[in-house]
């Protein structure tokens, strides 16, 4: 199989085979043709997952297409990198229709555009105008402080029994006092 992969994708890098796992790294432009070839000619019929990672230090997003061949029992990892400054990626939902859902999520969470993706505008987020939240430079704490106000809760380290005793004027019995702060 590794020979077949090498012959089919001469430009792909990192053709490692380890146990039942095969890794290839390809250009983002070639993704639809590589996926179609893997699906139709090599038996990788099942799209397990499309995973995404933000490598902010390198200025790139990584998409990993995880395919499974039910006959050969091999996992194929197809890695590709996308420029963070201009995040556009080919749409593949004509190859696997469920890829549509993954792409909707990636578009929303990472801000990658998929030209030609036919889907409702919003998937999980509603009226979101901030930075896509799964980017590494999105600061959750800062966003929360900016968007929501803090409601004063009950005071910390407050002993419920003391509060009740204060309100009702009763005394805390001796046996309970030793557990009281």
């Amino acid at each position: 199989m590794i020979e077949q992969i090498k012959a089919a994708f001469p430009n792909a890098e990192n053709k490692d085979f380890d146990g039942n796992r095969l890794d290839i790294t390809v250009n983002k432009e070639t993704i639809p043709s590589v996926l179609l070839y893997a699906k139709d000619k090599m038996g990788f019929r099942h799209l397990s997952h499309i995973a995404y990672v933000d490598w902010i230090e390198e200025g790139e997003f990584e998409l990993v297409y995880l395919l499974w061949s039910p006959v050969d029992k091999v996992k194929l990892f197809i890695h590709t990198r996308i420029d963070r400054e201009n995040p556009v990626m080919e749409n593949i939902d004509m190859i696997w229709r469920q890829a549509n859902t993954y792409e909707r999520e990636i578009k929303e969470m990472l801000g990658i555009e998929f030209p030609g993706l036919v889907a409702p505008d919003e998937f999980i987020l509603e009226d979101w105008e901030d930075l896509p939240p799964f980017r590494r430079d999105f600061d959750t704490l800062e966003y929360v402080n900016r968007t929501f106000w803090h409601r004063p809760g009950r005071e910390d380290a407050q002993d419920v029994r003391e509060t009740i005793a204060e309100r009702s004027g009763e005394e805390i019995p001796d046996f309970a006092q030793k557990y009281s702060r």
């Binding site: 799209l47 990672v53 995880l66 696997w96 469920q98 549509n100 859902t101 998937f123």
Partner: protein, 367 residues
């Protein structure tokens, strides 16, 4: 005269919906013309929170992705970390993990018994199976300290050894459940209402079924023998003898028969595990969690849950935090593209029957 389509919102608050999600239905009369799944009621950003947690802290979030079946997620995270850091797991821990996974599978299917029958208005079955599920939760409580969330299978092994006399209790529970399954058959599968409302309903087209991302009992209900425990054995499943039940009908009835047979197989697996389980260590010593760095790399591990394939993609950048941990749930495909495609033409009353049958779990879609 052309009939006008009406829009109906099923959920997010509806007794027939499985979790916090909504299906927007367009209907003419009571026949569905189109369906669209809408989510967004439940996103907890677990995967975002993990970016700031260390490798062991993240493990406490792991089990919370799908409430009815929490153990496969723990197992996946543990295996992902072990494969990234090349940690060997003791043999005894692997057996205990399989036992826990199969107990969880039985508990999930018992919950499904309740949901599937409840969606048809047959509530007695639910009372029985949820009651019996509690016996399994009792076992979990004794073993792990928790009934629903266990946080038991951690990287390196499992957290505690089996308590004294635990094996006997498990076997007794299995004997009891096996007897009860006969009663379930009489109440559920011999019931004319259940038969009429499940046969020929919610048919998943067999054409290109693998390409459409269908997994688990739905795929096996369409006659394809596919199970990750056999295809890509993990833990000690390759040393155990069990069958993968399949059915041909591809409808709600076929999937019900598959799940029923799976409970029997899980009981069989648990008996073998308790018979073969070796003595020895239950966990490998892991580094100090505060300073635990995992070599740069990525991995994708898969497990068979009660709903089908769940997978976990984990990437490490060599630091003390996971760079990315990304879950693939069966419902991510089943409850969106598959559901939207098979609902048109069905009756409104069958929507929740079909959703239960496909194993919809909303928390798995929004993590």
């Amino acid at each position: 005269m052309r009939e006008k389509a009406t829009t109906i919102y099923l959920g997010p608050q509806h007794p027939g919906i499985t979790g916090n999600m909504m299906v927007r239905l367009k209907v003419i009369g009571d026949t569905i013309v189109s369906a669209q799944t809408e989510v967004g009621y439940l996103h907890r950003a677990f995967e975002k929170l993990q970016e700031r947690r260390n490798w062991l802290n993240s493990f406490t979030l792991m089990c919370r992705f799908c409430v009815p079946e929490t153990d496969p997620m723990e197992n996946l995270y543990a295996r992902a970390v072990e494969s990234l850091d090349n940690i060997e797991v003791p043999e005894r821990a692997k057996y205990i993990r399989v036992m826990v996974l199969e107990l969880a599978r039985i508990a999930t299917q018992l919950m499904w018994y309740a949901g599937q029958n409840g969606s048809m208005g047959l509530y007695t079955m639910g009372q029985w199976s949820i009651g019996d599920r509690d016996y399994i939760l009792d076992l979990f409580e004794e073993l792990t300290g928790g009934r629903v969330y266990h946080m038991y299978q951690w990287p390196g092994g499992v957290r505690r050894d089996l308590p004294e006399g635990f094996e006997t209790k498990v076997l007794e529970t299995m004997d009891y459940l096996e007897k009860r399954l006969k009663d379930y058959d009489d109440l559920m599968f011999a019931n004319a209402i259940f038969q009429k409302r499940s046969q020929g309903i919610g048919i998943v087209p067999k054409e290109d079924i693998i390409e459409h991302g269908v997994v688990g009992p739905v795929l096996r209900g369409a006659g394809i023998r596919s199970d990750i425990r056999i295809d890509e054995p993990y833990e000690v499943y390759d040393k155990l003898d069990f069958e993968i039940p399949t059915q041909e009908g591809s409808d709600v009835w076929a999937r019900a028969l598959v799940r029923r047979a799976e409970v029997h197989q899980s009981i069989r697996i648990i008996r073998q595990v308790l018979d073969q389980i070796p003595k020895g260590e239950i966990t490998t010593k892991i580094p100090n969690p505060m300073k635990w760095r995992i070599p740069k790399g990525d991995t994708y591990v898969r497990a068979e849950s009660g709903r089908g394939e769940v997978g976990y993609f984990v990437a490490s950048d060599g630091s003390i935090h996971p760079r990315r941990a990304h879950l693939r749930g069966a419902a991510f495909v089943h409850a969106i593209t598959l559901l939207e495609n098979i609902l048109p033409g069905q009756n409104i009353a069958d929507v929740s029957v079909i959703m239960n049958s496909l194993g919809t779990c909303a928390p798995e879609i929004e993590r």
